[in-house]
């Protein structure tokens, strides 16, 4: 297999080629950087990367070569170039969260998700741009300038994982890691025409993910295809003693879900070592009229309001038709408290952020600005100079809703309404619905600089934030284009049922075929 068509290769194809000795990991890394150069990933053009070192990446890839010749534990992502959002700690590359307060910071430890990607044979080629500390929906809040959408450079790529989505959409890497607090993987995936998955809360270790809102944060995967996202998630999922919120639930072989059958019972104990030893199982035949037989897909009315863009509605209806043609039944459902999700989220997330970001004080790491007027003045000068406007706004908002006199009215109230939102999902999934389908976003990508009102920007998360509040898994899959810009369709399933989520996603992708990008 030639690397000339690198931008069209999925992770499984790359890994197969490398395992078979048809191409080398270094070939793939060079192809990745060649593509980055062709498309203009640099800071003066798309501004996708915050850090990339071609020479070091090629050397790392060359060091992998003997391991491929001699060993069987190469992993499902052997030789696959990957990009990592810059709030996920990596050894050897800076981790800045796109913030001046962490400019130049190189973590002395590595995130578990990154370590697992490497253990599975993946090669980290870049750290990607993002909204500062993952606070934003457009990647315009980066201290190092906005990322542009490869589909239309006048537009934002979404955010906060905009650099990771752009890297995948531009064909630089088939897989990238992002992180989610309220939709920061799925929304940019939708805006850039790629796949983005947010796993169940607890499915993936957050060790090494710089904390924003700990009751919501999850590492997610962006992929060129559903298969890329499935392989990426399978590689990083599973229990980690370094994260007390990580779950020890078994990690199925998500690719088997493409066969259109329920998850097989695990025959062996599920361990990280066993997962690293897996080869990608063969992909199934194209979908048929029975691929989704017996699957009930819920269509929640709150996510298809009268005000929804008619063209987005049209491509969503086309996706629902494909589900029907593959044997699924569509059921109208209601998630009545979902319209309250944005107010709930923008109380809880800033509240948690105001606590988590207290650690950036100029004492142990990162920026220090010392005006020579004592410790308190150093704290204030460091944080004021280090944090950008949106981070400052959210810290203040969070401090306010947690302060005496407002705690019950805002924070405690939001926690109670969060219970109701999660109850809505539980009620739908216990009523026989296997998956919920919605548009991922209410609009397509918008022009850079078009939204200046903070709350208007927050509304970008209106269809995604509920899955974070409820802790359930969700994936965005390209389902078409409106005015030449990509539209994402969202599939949400019950806690730890990523297998069913991937089953429906594989079917939708195959059922739409080329229409997914038209």
């Amino acid at each position: 297999m030639s690397v000339d068509n690198y931008t069209q290769l999925g992770a499984a194809q790359i890994a197969s080629s490398v395992r078979a000795g048809e191409s080398s990991p270094a070939d793939m890394v060079r192809a990745s950087f060649k593509r980055a150069g062709e498309i203009g990933a640099g800071s003066d053009e798309l501004n996708i990367f915050l850090h990339a070192d071609e020479k070091a990446s090629v050397e790392e890839a060359e060091e992998m070569q003997p391991r491929i010749r001699n060993a069987t534990d190469i992993g499902v992502l052997a030789g696959v170039p990957v990009a990592i959002k810059d709030n996920i700690a990596t050894l050897g590359l800076p981790t800045t969260c796109a913030s001046k307060i962490l400019r130049g910071y190189v973590s002395p430890f590595e995130a578990t998700a990154v370590a697992r990607l490497r253990a599975n044979g993946a090669l980290v080629v870049a750290k990607t741009n993002m909204d500062e500390f993952a606070m934003g929906s457009s990647t315009e809040n980066s201290a190092f300038g906005p990322t542009r959408n490869p589909v239309d450079v006048r537009c934002v790529p979404g955010g906060s994982s905009g650099g990771s989505a752009a890297a995948v959409a531009a064909g630089i890497t088939p897989i990238a890691l992002g992180s989610e607090t309220g939709g920061s993987v799925r929304q940019p995936a939708a805006f850039c025409g790629v796949v983005g998955v947010k796993p169940t809360y607890g499915r993936v270790s957050r060790y090494g993910l710089v904390a924003f809102a700990s009751s919501l944060d999850q590492i997610g995967v962006l992929g060129r295809t559903v298969d890329d996202a499935a392989l990426g998630l399978e590689a990083i999922a599973g229990f980690d003693k370094m994260d007390s919120t990580s779950s020890d639930a078994d990690v199925p072989i998500y690719r088997l879900s493409a066969l259109g059958k329920p998850a097989p019972e695990a025959r062996n104990p599920d361990t990280e070592a066993i997962r690293i030893g897996r080869s990608p199982v063969p992909l199934p035949p194209p979908p048929s009229a029975t691929t989704l037989d017996g699957v009930v897909i819920g269509k929640p009315k709150e996510y298809f309001p009268e005000s929804l863009d008619p063209e987005i509605r049209r491509v969503c209806e086309r996706a629902l038709d494909r589900f029907r043609s593959m044997g699924a039944s569509i059921r109208d459902v209601s998630l009545p408290r979902s319209p309250l999700a944005i107010p709930v989220y923008y109380i809880l997330a800033p509240a948690e952020a105001s606590s988590n970001l207290a650690r950036f004080d100029g004492v142990r790491y990162g920026l220090r600005v010392d005006p020579g007027k004592g410790l308190k003045a150093m704290y204030e000068a460091t944080r004021s100079e280090g944090f950008g406007p949106e981070v400052t706004r959210r810290i203040l908002l969070g401090t306010y809703v947690l302060s005496a006199g407002y705690y019950d009215a805002y924070y405690k109230k939001a926690q109670a309404v969060r219970t109701l939102i999660a109850d809505d999902f539980r009620a739908v999934f216990t009523s026989g619905v296997h998956a919920i389908f919605t548009p991922t976003t209410p609009t397509t990508a918008f022009p850079i600089g078009a939204i200046s009102d903070p709350y208007e920007m927050y509304l970008n998360d209106i269809f995604t934030v509920t899955a974070n509040l409820a802790g359930v898994p969700a994936i965005s899959v390209p389902i078409g284009r409106v005015r030449r810009l990509p539209v994402g369709g969202q599939i949400i399933t019950a806690h730890f049922d990523e297998y069913a989520m991937f089953r429906v996603a594989y079917a939708l992708e195959a059922g739409l075929g080329a229409e997914a990008h038209q």
Binding site: K373, K376, K412, A416, H495
Partner: protein, 104 residues
């Protein structure tokens, strides 16, 4: 429940953020506008609803009560603004010149 300028200055001090006068005025308007959208929650009856602090399903597992190695001091020194003898060096809590201003 509009936010006042004094509120902004108070919470900025709590959050250890220096805010200048012009920015304080802007933030007063911005936070008031954002919080006005939160008022809708006050109409929801949650008297009999428990609060959700997290959505993890495994509780909070305890690890064995044994010591674990910390980050080596060389690694800490590589990222710390100032260290000496394994300790982080910070400015004095207050200086004589600014003791009243710092509130210390």
């Amino acid at each position: 429940m509009p936010v006042t300028r004094d509120d902004v200055l108070h919470i900025a001090e709590l959050a250890r953020l220096g805010i200048d006068a012009a920015r304080a005025d802007e933030l007063t308007k911005e936070l008031s506008a954002i919080l006005s959208h939160m008022e809708v929650l006050s109409q929801v009856d949650t008297a009999a609803v428990s609060t959700t602090a997290g959505v993890g399903t495994g509780g909070t597992p305890l690890r064995p009560d044994v010591g674990v190695p910390g980050v080596p001091s060389a690694a800490l020194a590589s990222v710390a603004p100032a260290m000496r003898d394994g300790f982080f060096i910070v400015p004095r809590l207050a200086t004589h010149e600014d003791s009243s201003e710092s509130g210390a």
